[in-house]
Subunit: 343 residues, 4 copies
Amino acid sequence: MPENAKPLVISAPEPRTLALIFTDDARRELHRKYEIVEIEPEALAGLAPDVLGRARYIIGQPPIDPATLDRMQSLRCVLNVETNLIDNMPYERMFERGIHVVTTGAVFAAPVAELGVALALNLARGIVDADLDFRNGRELWGGDGNTSARLLSGSDIGIIGFGDLGRALSRLLTGFRANIRVFDPWLPPSILRENAVEPVPLETVLSESDTVFVVASVTSENEGFLGAKAFASMRKGAAFILLSRAGIVDFEALMDAVRSGHIVAASDVFPEEPLAPDHPVRSLPGFLRSAHRAGALDVAFKEMGDMVLEDMDLMDRGLPPMRCKRAERETVSRMRSKPVSRN
Amino acid sequence: MPENAKPLVISAPEPRTLALIFTDDARRELHRKYEIVEIEPEALAGLAPDVLGRARYIIGQPPIDPATLDRMQSLRCVLNVETNLIDNMPYERMFERGIHVVTTGAVFAAPVAELGVALALNLARGIVDADLDFRNGRELWGGDGNTSARLLSGSDIGIIGFGDLGRALSRLLTGFRANIRVFDPWLPPSILRENAVEPVPLETVLSESDTVFVVASVTSENEGFLGAKAFASMRKGAAFILLSRAGIVDFEALMDAVRSGHIVAASDVFPEEPLAPDHPVRSLPGFLRSAHRAGALDVAFKEMGDMVLEDMDLMDRGLPPMRCKRAERETVSRMRSKPVSRN
Amino acid sequence: MPENAKPLVISAPEPRTLALIFTDDARRELHRKYEIVEIEPEALAGLAPDVLGRARYIIGQPPIDPATLDRMQSLRCVLNVETNLIDNMPYERMFERGIHVVTTGAVFAAPVAELGVALALNLARGIVDADLDFRNGRELWGGDGNTSARLLSGSDIGIIGFGDLGRALSRLLTGFRANIRVFDPWLPPSILRENAVEPVPLETVLSESDTVFVVASVTSENEGFLGAKAFASMRKGAAFILLSRAGIVDFEALMDAVRSGHIVAASDVFPEEPLAPDHPVRSLPGFLRSAHRAGALDVAFKEMGDMVLEDMDLMDRGLPPMRCKRAERETVSRMRSKPVSRN
Amino acid sequence: MPENAKPLVISAPEPRTLALIFTDDARRELHRKYEIVEIEPEALAGLAPDVLGRARYIIGQPPIDPATLDRMQSLRCVLNVETNLIDNMPYERMFERGIHVVTTGAVFAAPVAELGVALALNLARGIVDADLDFRNGRELWGGDGNTSARLLSGSDIGIIGFGDLGRALSRLLTGFRANIRVFDPWLPPSILRENAVEPVPLETVLSESDTVFVVASVTSENEGFLGAKAFASMRKGAAFILLSRAGIVDFEALMDAVRSGHIVAASDVFPEEPLAPDHPVRSLPGFLRSAHRAGALDVAFKEMGDMVLEDMDLMDRGLPPMRCKRAERETVSRMRSKPVSRN
């Protein structure tokens, strides 16, 4: 069997690398089953017609112009391992032709959800400041240190957004037997109920929760949609935990709400990253900070490679991809996340 | 019906108070159903013979001498709300007579378990130091800050002791789908299996876990039983989380193991409480400190009153207590916990 | 707002009726939100151009010829409430245009899964014959009647196919803590693992299970694929339970395997329905029969209407349908189920 | 080590046998660790003083007179493998001395609960009569055969009694996501809530359930306590499933309620066992019969031996038994179950 009898894969995973997203074993499997043409993202259009014509998959999100797409007659799927969809390829034409566009962002669901639970427990029990006090000999013992402590178990928890991350969060909380209410306008209520959470309006999530998790993606419609009024409607002392995109909230209003003592907050995302050295959130009491570290674990990146291999295997057999998340024709153009520049 | 037709309860809940352990509603219920005689613990022997003779329950753990016990012919149960059994009453004679001795320590299981999960997630994700770095403008963004980060989900978790607290911990971890192994010599293996954990020897818990939780009580047999050898047998980089009693570990050896970088640790309990201002654990990197705050939440204390009412109701109807934990004739004298002096 | 400002829905739900698949409340909602044009399936092509041009949804599976499709420029979705996809419309052209084809078959998952568990428990405990013996005064008491009885709890269970029905079955069995292994070549192994079942080859499902459930759809590739060899590879005394389509098995071979005493079996589906009065399966000992009753419960049909309303609501808002199951471009032409002629 | 250095066990397991309740491996373990003296139950008092004096455990429920008990100064536990406590030993004197009386009835919980679910599903789907109709060529296909069919999933389920069996039943039903309500006056409400069931009065269980399971033991107080009034209060068409003891119900009234068409029923227990050949329940439509076969599975009996070994191991180490169920001083004399005469 000649080498080129293997299906051809164009690899342009920037800012990831194959070494980041595949374990050694998985990368060996990739090379065993496929002919891999590694390119810089900008180099796609310049590839030889034969290579373009034979390419079955693209790993990555290189710019694709319509003319180049026309030459890629074997293309079945773009496997976007950056995970934020940007507007650099003719999606509508691809959907017409039945070319899948899939993303591997689900790998971040578990690590982000774990950090979310960690931040929630930290706010509920004041762990950071208690450790600092202990270092400085000012710790309060027993109940004296617990005047504002509370439990997650049995509490009212609100989740905004119920994609992979919201589901992972809900699953992690299983053992806490909390009362979980969810706002997600993109999902029918019955799907939320099947996942053992209660569908409610946004107002209810905000005003009747002890902890609110924001795990929704930014779209063209919800940018900055949580502002001063939203925070004011929250329970006194409730916790607001931001895990998805800073663009969803009015960050100044969030800081004001924390500064006033009305709520406490934690965030893994910020309006600018990295953040200015003198940004006031750095010294804001009642605000717990994480520098966009929620998802970027090596084990998460490595899972991407496994997902890519599983879905290419299905498509090799004439089946649709099932493991990665498919971009939807209706919503692909509404997504507004900035692509990442670092892993 | 005369006032004294109500069953008589002697109340000596020190160091707790009735106000601490009963909600207002529960306390009203207590007074509605029972005649309450509130005393200082030392005053029991001096009570009028009629009061002693009529007393059906004692709430608290006052010293009881054999002669006084003989005069308490209606006594059915001592409801110990301090929760550590001390050797100040003739237990054997009480067991002979069928007088129950029960404790309300189960109320601490949920809050301590939540703190345990919080400490484990903190160690796994370096949350305290990351927030401090952020305050000081030294934060590392994304994957750069995650070089030692890991997940609890799917990890190997070891638990030493599987009483109420171990079970609560195991339940909280349900959604993390971890591989939980337990050492508890006081329980038959089949009970552990029924609780969906794997019974293993102590050595396995120590050497094959990413996170080890110690939730066993101190007994006359296990004082200081986890020392340098135990810590050396742990996986490099594993987390050791101490939630029950400092007496179980050789604390110096634990600090050494952390200092050497072999393991990381967190503890809610310390050899002396409060701890000396210059104790080296205060500044030990890799060690997360909590000042015996794990269980002492108001909601936990208030649950004690509910438990007391539920079990007295069962005993009023000639049934055995089911809600509080009964002291066991075989083990009551082995328990070594120091009584608490604060709530 | 004029009446025709409502989105237009063409209703041709045969063999269902709107009264069957909508509750009274849901049907009122349907008429409140949509203009409904009810037609016989064959009448679609003859509808006025204005009606075709305005139609946003079709409820049902009427034949659609390419020319008619071209005139339906507002069409967003065909909601197939019969649930078996037949080859009577230009699917490929519909997919090009982004018209969804969805089915409501998920409503049958829960009732079929319950019947599956019922049949499995019946075979494990011999309930039918025990009741018959009791009627006839020949019952065996206690252990005497249990010589071939066994438990589902903790047993080895194999499932062939892991769509909605396989998942429902697996979920119902949660409390039985069985060892569930699944063969489904259309799904990547990691999705099976995420659902807490073990992915295995078909041979393992057959040869290492105490109970085998067949819940796969018939495709052009698997017709009659379970035959004498498959049954011979099963454990002696194991149970074979057929819930999806008779076409998947060689029915004669299945009866032979039961007749020989090697396995026991239950089936809800048969090679011809209704079945000939003299078909030998009617009197075959060790075979439990159900006359295609597994899914056809009124509550299941009524759920279809709710699904239709939820997905039309999403699509009205420019979102993709999430509740019904979408036909896949890759597999729509492989499905071989005969349409039903009765409800 | 001389033979008699092994702890001595008196074995009188009638009507069980050691071969019934121990696997071969477990029996070898029993003989390896213990000196076994096998006797007829009536022979206990006649044993040599040395044997009585050294006996640490009794496996079985032989009559013990006070004088014999006085001679058994090493006795720690009677392990009753018949599982019904009868009044043939001085329980009060045994409790005074701290001698445990434990039963192994928990082994029946899983098999009885599985039969309970099986009977409930049979009544909900009419499986027995549908199979009989099929045999006779009278089967109704599809929805025609489902006019009275209903689902357990999401239905209202009531359980009377929440011991080992009630808990097993509740656990098996986990995946059905039913609304489970429990009446058990011997347990505090909070324990029911912790088990994720709702504590309610008996009246609520009866009148607001689609299926009622009776799994309570007979006591001196509840004999015949479910009669015509109870059945009349049930929902029209609801199912009544009797799994524990016939003594709890007025059996004639139950048959009347079924005969009238108000409810359907299933029972594993009967007023006399075996039952008269002409008993009317044999031919009563709407009544599903099982001849006390629910628990008597070989795997259940074999588990008894494991329990006995585990608890003797704990007691050998000075710990209390944890695996078997301890008889309670308060309730031992209230139990009314007839001992079994067969396995």
